[in-house]
């Protein structure tokens, strides 16, 4: 097994790192990419090498989703590492980062090791845990960044909650510099969001719901950028959702600050109009916002202000959503809709395919210093074979995730994962003959 060789022939090779976009062959040997290129095996594949005919479809690095809630430990009735892994593979994701707002919170080395063990047992997607910035997500005392990073935490966040106390954020950014670690912020001023349950604006007013103003995100991002400038730390805005915050990040980057951000597909695919008739499946934090904000997210992805696309995959059981809007849980599942929703940006003429793939693979991998997300000789053979054009309709009942909370059910989309390969092994194929 370890030196098994497979040639993916007749593939449209797409690599955002090298800019490669050409029909050719990719050869894996064991868990690594052994070779690739348009000219490889031009005279036929030698004997003894298994071949997979890609039928001219796209072969890219497997997707890297830097923002996923796997719910384990603590909320295994919503999702487990095993079911989240199946969901990821079905969506073309080969690496994901799980968030630490579990129960117990991932704030010590033992929990990092637990996540690693459960991921190993699932034998699926690669799981790179984020650890909490503060113990118990209480926003007070820093976790052991150095020891957690040594154990395998790839970044730090209190996601789900913002780091509200400015002194704590300052010290976190400053202390993280010791080990050159990234602090990811759920940017929200809770005193401004108050009891809001959807975006502030006309729709909220018509529905009689309390709104969450855009300024609650902007204020926090502005504050944090000042703290980044003061501390020279590395800072990342999770699930950015407002035009103003994107602009803050754009200006911070122009000033040379180490500030990055990610956007979720729902924030460039939907608006507050999609809340419609109190649809709790369209409730998330940050909320779906106005069309002007949605187009600003698209612009941010186009000009590179937004580095990565990440799902904020947030599984919830039915009971958490079958509630009045104000009481329903925040969040939607996203792993199995990530690829087609992102491809809407390509089909809609907003982003070239390689630029789009960069935000889904190489960019998050580079932010987190992961060796994945590229087609390169010697790199891990984490690959995604996808049909760029295939039309289909999202059907949440087919989701591998334990939870079905998606606002995209019934949406006609284009583009689909055909095969997902991790360390050279095909762990998902669309027609179902998943090889182990």
């Amino acid at each position: 097994m370890s030196d098994k060789r497979t040639a993916y022939i007749n593939a449209r090779l797409l690599d955002p790192e090298s800019g490669l976009d050409a029909l050719g062959v990719l050869l894996t040997e064991g868990a690594r990419i052994a070779d690739l290129g348009p000219g490889l095996f031009a005279d036929g594949v030698p004997e003894g090498i298994e071949t997979v005919d890609c039928g001219g479809h796209c072969l890219s690095p497997g997707l890297v989703d830097m923002h996923v809630h796997l719910r384990e430990p603590g909320h295994e009735h919503k999702e487990t590492i095993a079911t989240g892994s199946l969901s990821a593979l079905a969506g073309g994701v080969t690496s994901l980062c799980c968030m630490p707002n579990t129960d117990p919170v991932i704030d010590n080395v033992g929990l990092i090791e637990f996540i690693h063990r459960r991921a190993r047992e699932a034998k699926g997607v690669k799981v790179f845990p984020f650890a909490a910035v503060t113990k118990g997500l209480e926003g007070k005392q820093l976790t052991e960044f150095g020891m957690l990073a040594e154990a395998g935490a790839v970044a730090f966040t209190d996601d789900g909650l913002p780091i509200s106390n400015s002194q704590v954020m300052r010290r976190a950014l400053s202390y993280a510099k010791t080990f050159d670690l990234l602090i990811s912020q759920h940017a929200e001023d809770l005193s401004l969001s108050a009891c809001g349950c959807m975006a502030e604006g006309e729709v909220a007013t018509r529905l009689g719901l309390e709104g969450i103003p855009e300024i609650s995100e902007t204020v926090m991002v502005e504050r944090d950028i000042r703290l980044v400038e003061h501390t020279d730390g590395r800072y990342h805005v999770a699930h950015i959702s407002t035009a103003d915050a994107v602009d803050c990040v754009r200006r911070a980057k122009a000033r040379g600050l180490r500030v990055t951000c990610e956007a979720a597909p729902h924030h460039f695919s939907l608006t507050d109009l999609d809340v419609g008739d109190y649809r709790t499946f369209a409730k998330m934090a940050p909320p779906l916002r106005s069309e002007a904000n949605r187009t600003a997210i698209v612009e941010g992805l186009k000009d590179g202000t937004i580095d990565a696309i990440a799902t904020d995959h947030a599984p919830h059981d039915q009971e958490s959503k079958r509630l009045p809007m104000a009481h329903a849980a925040n969040g939607i599942v996203g792993l199995e809709t990530l690829l087609p929703l992102s491809l809407e940006l390509y089909h809609g003429g907003h982003l070239p395919l390689l630029d789009l793939l960069r935000r889904l693979t190489l960019a998050p991998a580079e932010l987190l210093k992961l060796p994945v997300g590229r087609l390169r000789k010697g790199a891990p053979a984490d690959l995604l074979l996808f049909d760029l054009e295939a039309p289909w309709v999202v059907d949440s009942t087919k989701f591998r995730s334990m939870s079905k909370n998606t606002p995209f059910d019934g949406r006609p989309v284009q583009g689909r994962a055909l095969r997902t390969i991790v360390d050279g092994r095909s762990l998902f194929t669309l027609d179902g003959d998943t090889a182990r």
């Binding site: 007070k140 820093l142 052991e144 010290r171 400053s174 202390y175 510099k177 010791t178």
Partner: protein, 317 residues
Amino acid sequence: MQPVSRPNALAQRDLLGIEGLSPDRVSAILDLSESYVALNRNAHKKSDVLRGRTLILLFFETSTRTRTSFELAGKRLGADVINISVASSAIKKGETLIDTAMTLNAMHPDVIVVRHPDAGAVRLLANHVNCSVINAGDGSHEHPTQALLDALTIRNHKGRLDGLRVAICGDVLHSRVARSNILLLNMMGSQVRLVAPPTLVPPAVERLGVEVFHDMRRGLEECDIIMMLRLQAERMQGTFVPSTREYFRYFGLDEEKLAMARPDALIMHPGPMNRGVEIDSRVADDITRSAILEQVELGLAVRQACLDMLGREPESA
């Protein structure tokens, strides 16, 4: 042999900090200190240079070694030594610092040694008395006799103070010892490095002429002197460093990190030590490397020299 000091050798009334001293004066203090080191090793340790003089020790913070060291220094020089502890004094009853200063001044002491938790408080007190004042530590500002005793320890081992590479490691942010040492060592021509997590490095400290390292292994490379500082846990509220075990792992001096320094590097610590927090016991107790107890011995001599130079009556020369 009696140590010989010139009256007014410091040409200043007070010793409030290293700031304001010149290399010549530092050398003069260290030279005189050396003669007291010799005297202290005799069976007969007393002198009478300060006979009839009054020394008041006024400590607004708890202290064992500094206070004992000053008290013993005063007594060995023949002075009358008065201890005022905050717990049993009028300060507890709400007296202001300036009132305390003026009250003590009315009793005509010759030297007051002051420690205070607030930076600048010793200078404020000095402005309201007629006698000499020695700063025994004010907040995170200065602790000049500690820097002088550290310098004497280094000079004893290395024969010089110039051209040495010194790493000051740990809680620099809260440390008056670090500030006084940076000033003194820079003045005497050493190269000073700070080794600490960014949260424990004071802002703009590079302006004091130091190089800052956040990686202790790199910071200790080729160092002649390693000065460890106490992690002042009582001043932390959980966000400077996450835990003492993480601190020890990355910023505690153990044999592995020590191996990065020069083979003859000297290990120093102003005390009190937190073993297993900023320093490993095996390193602290290694008598071939550690000068920690010698620092205490030389500290007494340095304080005798300072009291001698400031407290001796000009006419007695």
